[in-house]
């Protein structure tokens, strides 16, 4: 891997996390290509011999750019109570591995994520964690996320909702 490309892609992921934690959703949306596929399948507990524990039929998110924009728009209206008073998020991204793909302008990027959310003065901290498999594409001099698959590690989520982006 070219270390400069690797550094630029890592920088993109850290920048993305910063934008989300500071509610700069407009700029966050700009990090995605217009044809982005953003998915989070359901993880289940299966017998080892029963194969993959990622269920392709069920999802927590199955988003396009347009539907991500709609979610952002909803969070901004006055009566989106989940955003009132603004919960505090922290997106941790680590274990980044960048690999070339069949397309010269696109890289496969695996990373681990841990998202914590604190609501008001509630001592309960919401948490979501797992692995991300992204496609990062070079578009007009910029690195953008062209696909994201989020594989969560819990079969029973310990967050009261998924109002946050991951």
């Amino acid at each position: 891997m070219n270390p400069e490309i690797r550094a630029a892609i890592e920088e993109l992921l850290y920048h993305e996390a910063y934008l989300l934690d500071h509610r700069r959703y407009g700029e966050w949306l700009d990090l995605f290509t217009d044809d982005v596929v953003y998915r989070m399948p359901v993880r289940v507990t299966r017998e080892r011999r029963a194969g993959s524990d990622v269920d392709p039929t069920a999802v927590y998110f199955d988003e396009t750019k347009a539907s991500l924009e709609k979610r952002v728009k909803r969070l901004s209206v006055r009566s989106a109570w989940v955003e009132e008073n603004q919960p505090r998020h922290r997106h941790f991204v680590s274990n980044v591995v960048v690999r070339p793909t069949e397309r010269p302008d696109e890289y496969a990027v695996r990373s681990y994520f841990l998202v914590l959310r604190s609501r008001g003065s509630d001592p309960d901290v919401d948490r979501v964690f797992g692995e991300r498999e992204d496609r990062v594409r070079h578009v007009e001099g910029q690195w953008k996320i062209a696909a994201r698959e989020l594989v969560v590690d819990e079969a029973v989520l310990h967050t009261i909702n998924l109002a946050m982006f991951l």
Binding site: V42, E47, A58, V77, S79, W81, D122, V156
Partner: protein
């Protein structure tokens, strides 16, 4: 019953008679202990849908509050439910959520059970066991009763419970409409599961008896035009045993009737429903309700613009503690619907009532806030010195049943708290072991 005395029940009853509920009953540990003894084991609880166990050996594992349950289709095609624990020394038997297999082996000492629950394999059977082990006596323990209605599987721990159809009462008429309308439904994918802050009674009531919250809690979806705004009228229908349903209908038969379902299904509705049910479905907007104690359902229209889809969302509010619930959420679609419609309806479900759904997000926030405000003395004081009662007064002593409503049950027009009041009475009836009556009309 430890700390709870007749005096407490009398005070609860008196509050209920005035359309109120002492708020301390939501989170009180003594109430919670008594609910685990007298409410959940004596009622019918939802275990799943038969489409989740389609072939011999197919199984799902579920929970009836804290009892682990294995629902499995036997080689003979019969669906059975067992305590999901090895009878030898009590180990959780099957740790998977779902799958298909002919036998279940307990790893502790290696006993094996078949899909009918029989003990078929004992490790070192000939070396260490003699006649003292009678295999026939050591099969899996069945859940005392398992019955189904329209493909919905229910279990109860009470061998003497009334038959399921009797417990459901007139709810069967509405289940015919919701689940039986096209000849059968199927579950799309495994259920969503997540843990929320809240008391199970409040969550049950949110779906079953509280359409009033929609205009405020879910105002953002109206602001954005995600929830259809059309002229509707509605009823709240009180059913026995704490069950209830809310029906909203369009004043005019909509251009795309039957909740905008695909036209291919319409002849099936006419075939499977009686004319009264069919007419109700033709104009229906949203049907939302619950089967006491822990099952709720909603059959809405959701999507954007012209792309509105209908699905049936089933919810189990599995109580983990008085202030914590594991939500189980299934999306059901008509089996006979075109595949493309099923896919779109599932997506509409995820966008609205899934854990990331625009409707769901704000509900969970509200339930958490009720718990945050329920831990102090002004709420927990059982003598009600602080007037710590919550309000179920809507329509109380004022709104009369509407005799023109076509379905069974006691139907009140518009917004009322009739179902919640009836639910509370049935809950108290169970909690007091029948000392307080609570057949359940408001």
């Amino acid at each position: 019953m430890g700390a709870l005395q007749a005096e407490h029940f009398r005070k609860i009853r008196e509050a209920m008679d005035r359309g109120l509920l002492p708020q301390w009953v939501l989170t009180d540990p003594d109430v919670w202990a008594l609910e685990q003894e007298r409410v959940f084991p004596r009622t019918w609880q939802f275990l799943g849908h038969e489409s989740e166990v389609p072939v011999p050996g197919a199984f799902v594992t579920r929970w009836m509050v804290h009892d682990p349950v294995l629902v499995v289709r036997g080689e003979d095609g019969e669906i059975r439910a067992f305590l999901n624990a090895c009878p030898h020394r009590g180990t959780l038997l099957c740790t998977a959520d779902a799958g298909t297999q002919a036998a279940f082996t307990c790893p502790y000492h290696g006993w094996t059970f078949d899909a009918q629950g029989a003990l078929i394999g004992v490790a070192l059977a000939h070396q260490v066991w003699g006649t003292e082990l009678c295999r026939a006596e050591w099969g899996l323990k069945p859940i005392p009763r398992l019955e189904r209605y329209q493909g919905l599987l229910f279990g109860t721990l009470d061998p003497a419970a009334p038959p399921l159809v009797e417990y459901l009462g007139a709810m069967t008429w509405y289940l015919d409409l919701l689940v039986g309308r096209s000849g059968g439904m199927e579950v799309w994918g495994p259920p969503h599961r997540w843990v929320v802050a809240g008391n199970w009674k409040l969550l049950y009531e949110n779906f079953t008896g509280d359409p009033y919250h929609v205009q405020s809690t879910h105002r953002s979806t109206v602001e954005l035009g995600i929830t259809p705004q059309r002229v509707v009228r509605g009823w709240q229908v009180v059913l026995p045993h704490g069950h209830g349903i809310n029906v909203t209908q369009y004043l005019e038969v909509p251009e795309r009737p039957y909740q905008r379902t695909p036209e291919a299904l319409w002849p099936r509705f006419r075939e499977h429903l009686n004319p009264v049910q069919e007419e109700l479905l033709r104009r229906a907007a949203v049907l939302v309700g619950g089967i006491f104690p822990t099952l709720s359902f909603v059959s809405p229209l959701h999507g954007t613009g012209e792309d509105l889809y209908n699905f049936l969302n089933l919810r189990v509010w599995r109580p983990l503690a008085p202030d914590r619930v594991e939500v189980w959420s299934w999306c059901l679609v008509d089996r006979a619907a075109p595949e493309a419609y099923k896919r779109a309806a599932y997506k509409a479900y995820v966008d609205s009532f899934g854990p990331s759904g625009t409707l769901e997000q704000d509900d969970t926030e509200m339930w958490a806030r009720v718990m945050q405000a329920s831990r102090g003395w002004m709420v927990r004081d059982k003598t009600l010195n602080y007037n710590n009662v919550i309000n179920y007064l809507m329509g109380f002593g004022r709104v009369e049943p509407d005799p023109t409503f076509p379905g069974p049950g006691t139907a009140y027009p518009g917004f009322v708290d009739a179902v919640s009041r009836s639910t509370h009475r049935f809950w108290l009836h169970l909690l007091t072991d029948g000392a307080e009556e609570g057949s359940g009309e408001a």
